[in-house]
């Protein structure tokens, strides 16, 4: 009877693990049709009219800079970007020119996935869109359409599919820019700078202002919590 119980428990746990990790399915979140149109419309509404330059969103002369260390495959980054205080920060402080956001790459979830090598490719895809000042459209789209973690959903088709959804993106130029060695170097430099200052997870949010630097202590801070950190540096 004990042997049967142990065997039964192992079978139950194997099923739970398969359900937890999404099994072997490649669950891509890539959207099509009206859903995709609705998503990009929402993103454009959030970002429209805000200046962009490469990986920086907002007025370059903004007194406060939020450095956002992120990984496109990181579900916690997705939670912060879509459900946390990020959208409200963009709508209020970034739009008003008080804060600018600089995104830097730091490998976390992707490096724990079965295909860590895709990290450079996916982050460079965003930076290539940044050469057309559409980095944040690509980044927001990635988080909106993020697939099941560890399922290997980040394929060339997935990355191309995201790019095709951005109305103003010159697709051919984007493809060419993805081979730019400077962008690969930028990802490597981001990671090196992150390690240097002791970043260990994503999202890591560091605010720099006239009164110095402060970091958000919560993984998914609300807008109110972000505002508190901004007050510390201004």
């Amino acid at each position: 009877m004990v042997g049967g119980t142990v065997l039964g428990a192992i079978i139950v746990v194997v099923v739970l693990v398969l359900v937890s990790s999404g099994g072997t399915k490649k669950e891509t979140g890539l959207q099509t049709g009206t859903t995709a149109n609705s998503t990009i419309a929402g993103i454009n509404q959030l970002l429209g009219g805000i200046p962009q330059s490469g990986n920086v969103l907002g007025n370059p002369k903004a007194p406060v800079t939020m450095t956002y260390y992120g990984d496109y495959e990181c579900p916690v980054c997705q939670a912060f970007t879509l459900q946390g205080g990020f959208s409200q920060l963009v709508s209020n402080d970034v739009r008003s020119g008080k804060v600018k956001v600089e995104y830097r790459s730091f490998c976390t979830a992707t490096c724990g996935s079965p295909d860590p090598g895709v990290f450079n490719t996916q982050q460079v895809a965003g930076l290539a869109a940044g050469k057309q000042n559409l980095f944040w459209q690509y980044t927001e789209l990635f988080y909106h359409e993020q697939g099941q973690e560890d399922s290997g959903y980040v394929t060339p088709a997935y990355l191309n599919g995201l790019a095709r959804q951005i109305p103003n993106l010159d697709y051919a130029t984007w493809q060419t820019d993805r081979n730019d060695p400077n962008l690969t170097a930028q990802v490597s430099n981001d990671q090196a700078s992150a390690r240097q200052i002791g970043v260990s997870g994503t999202p890591t949010l560091i605010f720099s202002g006239p009164k110095g630097q402060a970091a958000a202590s919560q993984a998914v801070p609300t807008y109110a919590q972000l505002e508190q950190v901004i007050k510390q540096v201004t």
Binding site: V2, T5, V6, A9, L16, P75, V76, S113, Q218, V220
Partner: protein, 174 residues
């Protein structure tokens, strides 16, 4: 050997089982507290009490915090309640059921701890506490299952056999 002496072993075994049941019950109540708090935090959408590193939020926001839409904390809570109820079933079925639930909880906790270390890169102290409780529970419920025989059989078989032997000896003396 007297009938009273023959009853000594089961009495000791009964005491050990009672202590095991108390220990399991206490651990289950602590587990219900831990898992219950995580369930409350999830549905009340309040900030989780955590250490300075904020690892609990990272783990609780990860895809591994849910199982097909159901928070794993709910499953943990159900597991602790299940083990607690199994203590009320005073036979082999109850012992094996408690052990089975604890074993599932222990193995799945190990998997989630692996995910915390190698995928999420953050630790949730509440989750680690629950994993520790499940580890202790699988050991204690396992001991109960392995010790089941003397508790179950001695009171019924040994005294009766001993009684017959005594009766036979008394008959022979007459």
């Amino acid at each position: 050997m007297s009938i009273a002496a023959a009853n000594g072993a089961p009495a000791r075994a009964g005491t050990v089982d009672r202590r095991l049941r108390i220990a399991i019950g206490v651990l289950c109540l602590i587990g219900i507290g831990v898992a219950g708090y995580l369930v409350y935090v999830h549905y009340a959408k309040i900030k989780i009490i955590c250490g300075a590193n904020g690892g609990c939020e990272t783990v609780q926001s990860s895809v591994y915090s849910k199982l097909d839409g159901v928070p794993v904390a709910v499953l943990g809570l159900a597991g602790y309640i299940g083990i607690l109820f199994s203590l009320a079933i005073r036979n082999e079925l109850g012992r094996v059921a408690g052990f089975g639930i604890a074993l599932v909880g222990f193995l799945f906790s190990m998997y989630l701890t692996y995910r915390e270390a190698f995928t999420i890169h953050a630790y949730c102290y509440w989750c680690l506490s629950s994993a520790t409780l499940m580890t202790l529970l699988v050991v204690l419920t396992g001991i109960r299952v392995l010790r089941a025989e003397p508790i179950e059989r001695t009171p019924k078989t040994v005294p009766r056999a001993e009684r017959r032997r005594v009766e036979r000896r008394q008959a022979a003396r007459r």
